[in-house]
């Protein structure tokens, strides 16, 4: 809200302690980074040990650098007085808002309540063996990738010498670059053992990560043979023979490996759904705790003050997860500062006298910014509120007003028509400030065609567009109205565009009841860089209106 003047601001004192959930590599690194920037950290881990030491190969694989780094990190965290490590501990509940969360932890010594300012979620992946999908059972000669990694890091790795080893990847799942990275590093490790013959059966080689193409070529130079097939090769149930059509020679081939290594699927932590429910954050594809929305990348959740990093939010390798860590440390610094933050007083103001405690606002707020205080009344946190106005437009009592977008101000804009071309067909376009409004400015800057009597009304989110605004625009003589929102999946407030579309559907029905053509009202989704899209949307509506003529309300 750049237009806010300073006298409308207030300073709030906030708690600067940070909760980190998960004591794996990224959780530890985040805890250390946050503590290094001067905040106290509570690190909780459901296991009895931190650093994933119980199963050191669970996600680090056989990367020695990363293993060493992790060991150092465990020591650093243990030596850091500002990091309070609680093992055997789970998060039970989290109430409140950023800067003032009250969390309850279940520890081995009973429950514990704490006040904290921000939360970082750093849960781990799990690996699921896909041997079943290949029709195989695990045995001494049928291994999962994790089992091979374990073998390779142990003393009896020479058990593999002079063996023929076949890897399977990309047939039981589409796979990803992290699975491929693990396969390639294992192929290279196997090749460093004497006398091994290596075959890799692959669907798509997922090499879209740093150094993987080189690793692939290196392993080939060292003797690995790759067969890229479109379908899974036929493997005998005991795993002793593999038959397939060689795509280069176009000949049926048969191989008898000593060991078959089967890919694994990387899955989100099974704790994620519960954590999401406790923290009221959205669950994305595959059970990862971040929706596929570019406004969340890299580490934001839908709630201010709750950050999701590494394997919590996506399948990632270690360097990428460490980028997340640093981004979370940055965000924590931006949010908590020195324990005092300045926020606008009127971001969203609730008139408690009008409120009927219907909880609509609480249910609809996509940012979890509304909570119930001790007196059982709703409170909108100025820290957590993003000012989208979804609550305001759906409040049945109109009890909420948003900063510079109060109902009165928007109604005034609808009424005023200072157009230079009052005789032309009048179009009112409600434009989301994040997309369509910007696209409109771009259309202007690049002198793209727009109707002469177009009135753009900026809204903080299309979800702010009240049914009343649309109807009022027609009452005030608009010949046509457009509601212009972000594309589905691109709304900063996740569902503001969806709510806006529903309201347009409602408005269409009401227009028909009043005898007005519903073609006068349109709903369009745009991106901020679509100047040309803005231009064609408004021109299209103008052309439709030309066919319909002036609105009967427009005397």
């Amino acid at each position: 809200m750049s237009e806010m003047i300073l006298s409308d601001m207030e300073e709030i004192k906030i708690n600067t302690d940070v909760l980190v959930v998960g004591g794996g590599y990224t959780g530890l690194k985040a805890a250390k980074g946050i503590s290094d920037s001067g905040y106290s950290v509570v690190l909780i881990e459901s296991d009895t040990i931190i650093g994933g030491e119980k199963n050191p190969l669970s996600f680090i694989g056989i990367d020695v650098t990363a293993q060493d780094e992790l060991k150092r990190l465990v020591d650093d965290v243990a030596a850091d007085d500002a990091v309070n490590v609680l093992m055997n501990t789970r998060l039970v509940s989290a109430a409140g808002v950023p800067g003032d969360f009250t969390i309850r932890l279940a520890t081995s010594d009973g429950d514990l309540e704490k006040k904290i300012g921000a939360i970082v979620v750093a849960t781990n992946f799990s690996n699921k063996p896909l041997s079943g999908a290949y029709g195989l059972s695990l045995s001494d000669s049928v291994l999962t990738l994790s089992q091979l990694e374990y073998l390779l890091s142990g003393s009896d790795r020479d058990r593999l010498s002079n063996k023929t080893i076949a890897f399977m990847v990309g047939f039981a799942q589409e796979g990803d670059a992290l699975v491929m990275e693990r396969i390639l590093s294992n192929v290279l490790a196997v090749e460093s053992i004497g006398g091994c013959t290596t075959y890799v059966f692959a669907g798509n080689l997922k090499v879209a990560s740093d150094g993987l193409e080189r690793a692939y070529l290196e392993s080939r130079d060292k003797g690995a043979t790759y067969f890229k097939l479109k379908t899974m090769p036929t493997i005998s149930p005991d795993g002793e023979s593999i038959s397939f059509i060689d795509p280069v020679l176009r000949k049926k081939m048969e191989l008898s490996p000593d060991v078959i290594v089967i890919e694994e699927e990387i899955l989100a932590d099974e704790m994620n759904p519960l954590l999401a429910a406790i923290l009221r954050i959205d669950v994305g594809p595959g059970g990862f705790l971040q929706t596929d929305n570019i406004h969340r990348f890299p580490v934001q959740s839908n709630r201010e003050g709750i950050f999701v990093i590494g394997g919590t939010r996506d399948v990632q390798n270690i360097p990428t997860a460490l980028m997340d860590v640093e981004n979370a440390v940055l965000e924590i610094n931006h949010l908590l500062k020195d324990g005092k933050i300045v926020v606008p007083k009127n971001k969203a103001v609730l008139d408690i006298g009008k409120c009927t405690f219907c909880i609509t606002c609480y249910r609809l707020c996509p940012h979890g910014a509304i909570y119930w205080d001790n007196t059982n009344k709703p409170v909108i946190s100025p820290v957590a509120c993003q000012g989208c106005g979804i609550c305001a437009s759906d409040c049945p009592m109109d009890a909420i007003q948003i900063g510079n977008y109060s109902d009165a101000e928007i109604m005034d804009k609808i009424k005023s028509n200072g157009s230079a071309a009052p005789d032309d067909l009048r179009i009112v376009a409600f434009c989301c400030q994040n997309s369509a409004y910007e696209a409109g400015l771009m259309a202007d800057a690049f002198q793209m065609e727009t109707p002469a009597n177009l009135q753009v009304i900026k809204v903080p989110c299309a979800g702010k567009v009240d049914l009343d605004y649309i109807m009022k625009a027609f009452v005030e003589g608009a010949d046509g109205v457009l509601v212009m929102a972000c594309h589905p999946g691109n709304c900063k407030s996740e569902k503001g565009n969806t709510y806006a579309e529903w309201r347009v559907v409602d408005a269409h029905r009401m227009l028909e009841e009043t005898g007005l053509e519903k073609e006068r009202l349109g709903f369009v989704t745009l991106a901020s860089n679509m100047g040309i899209g803005f231009s064609s949307a408004v021109v299209d509506l103008e052309n439709r209106l030309k066919a319909l003529g002036t609105s009967p309300f427009n005397k």
Binding site: G38, E174, D176, A208, P285, D292, H295, M442, G489, N529
Partner: protein
């Protein structure tokens, strides 16, 4: 962590540089943003939105968003058409800036235009004599560029990449045949016209070929890396073409399809059911009647040579190191890696370099998506903080 009273130089005004500058200024630092071309935003500001009836997370709009934030931030000083001439380090960095000679594709009317309304200036006059009319607010190229000296506490290098020059793949006829275009060209076409059209007649193409890995994963060229962005942009674009024109016949020539987005298997399945995926590298392309293109390739199933005619061929060119990388490596005393990108010294944290106080971010370090470049820029900003904390 605070950087008040600190000054940091960011080299490069693309998405990584913009993000680094923004993150640093949010922490209270003042930032000197040095960009050698006439506009901020880098390559990515020219990219188009690839949404169908839903967002496909290409990230192009986040570049627009970041550019807007940076130009509105008083703590960031922008030096357009400027490059670093010399840099010395004695605790702090002493920098000498000079005017760059930006390579400008000479426009017909002597004026070049930025890609975004947030480009300031939006118009740069390159040749006054050729300009029929000088747009309002236009700045003469000679007025751009900073010469002078600066002292900064740290440096973030985010100078970006160079798209692969498709002319090198001679048999594809880029810049010879009108309707053979690169992915970069396609971005610009869609941004300008709002739709995918054929350059020759501005009509909607019905049969379209995408050739992936042009200039990437190419042993003959010695480009032994996956560019990581071409599968994403090519398939997102193809998906959008198909959405707007159900009849469009799209063929994708590929080696391996790479993942992108959080829901890739579903997206890929949708593409596979509506497009032809052919696992081969096409041999060559010839023009035929009506500016169509005949492509020869070996059939996957039987290895026989086949020919197919397309209205439009899109070469999905990849990311290659900027030719300036060598100079920058020398200037900043940091290493180049085997591929010609600037090499970090820490495999786990690629923003760190051999020169303490100099950090790298974005595609100067290796191929990256928009989101990946932004994430790494955030990491670099955090590393600058730590460095300044230790070296107070």
């Amino acid at each position: 962590m605070s950087t008040e009273n600190n000054k940091i130089m960011v080299i490069g005004g693309g998405i990584a540089g913009l993000t680094a500058a923004w993150e640093l200024s949010r922490l209270g630092a003042s930032v000197e943003l040095v960009e050698k071309t006439c506009f901020l935003g880098g390559h990515a500001i020219g990219f188009c939105c690839k949404a169908t009836d839903e967002c496909v997370q290409c990230g192009a709009c986040s570049v627009e968003d970041m550019l807007k934030k940076v130009v509105g931030e008083p703590g960031i000083t922008v030096h357009l058409a400027t490059e670093v001439d010399k840099i010395g380090k004695n605790g702090i960095f002493s920098v000498k800036l000079k005017k760059s000679s930006p390579t400008v594709n000479m426009p017909v009317d002597g004026v070049i235009k930025g890609y975004s309304k947030n480009n300031d200036p939006l118009y740069v006059v390159v040749d006054k004599d050729k300009a029929a009319q000088i747009p309002e607010g236009a700045v003469d190229l000679s007025e751009l560029g900073t010469t002078g000296e600066l002292e900064v506490d740290a440096v973030i290098l985010a100078s970006g990449f160079q798209p692969f020059n498709a002319e090198i793949k001679k048999t594809y006829g880029y810049n010879q045949f009108k309707n053979v275009i690169t992915g970069m060209d396609l971005e610009r076409i869609k941004r300008q016209y709002g739709d995918v059209i054929r350059p020759s007649d501005k009509k909607q193409p019905e049969t379209i070929a995408f050739i992936l890995c042009v200039g990437s994963r190419d042993e003959r060229l010695g480009n032994l890396w996956c560019s990581q962005v071409c599968c994403p942009y090519a398939l997102r674009m193809a998906n959008d073409i198909k959405f707007k024109n159900e009849e469009a016949d799209i063929s994708v020539f590929y080696m391996d399809i790479q993942n992108f987005g959080k829901n890739f298997p579903d997206f890929y399945e949708k593409c596979q059911s509506s497009m032809n995926f052919i696992r081969t590298i096409p041999v060559d392309i010839f023009p035929v009647e009506d500016d169509k293109l005949k492509m020869r390739y070996f059939n996957e199933e039987d290895g026989q040579s086949v020919e197919n005619v397309f209205d439009l061929v899109v070469l999905a060119v990849g990311i290659t190191p900027d030719p300036d990388n060598k100079n920058l490596a020398k200037l900043l005393e940091i290493g180049l890696n085997v591929d010609g990108f600037l090499g970090g010294i820490d495999p786990l944290n690629r923003t760190r370099t051999a020169n303490e106080g100099v950090f790298i971010a974005g595609t100067v370090e290796g191929p990256k998506s928009i989101a990946g470049s932004m994430a790494q820029a955030g990491q670099a900003a955090a590393e600058v903080m730590k460095y300044l904390e230790v070296n107070k």
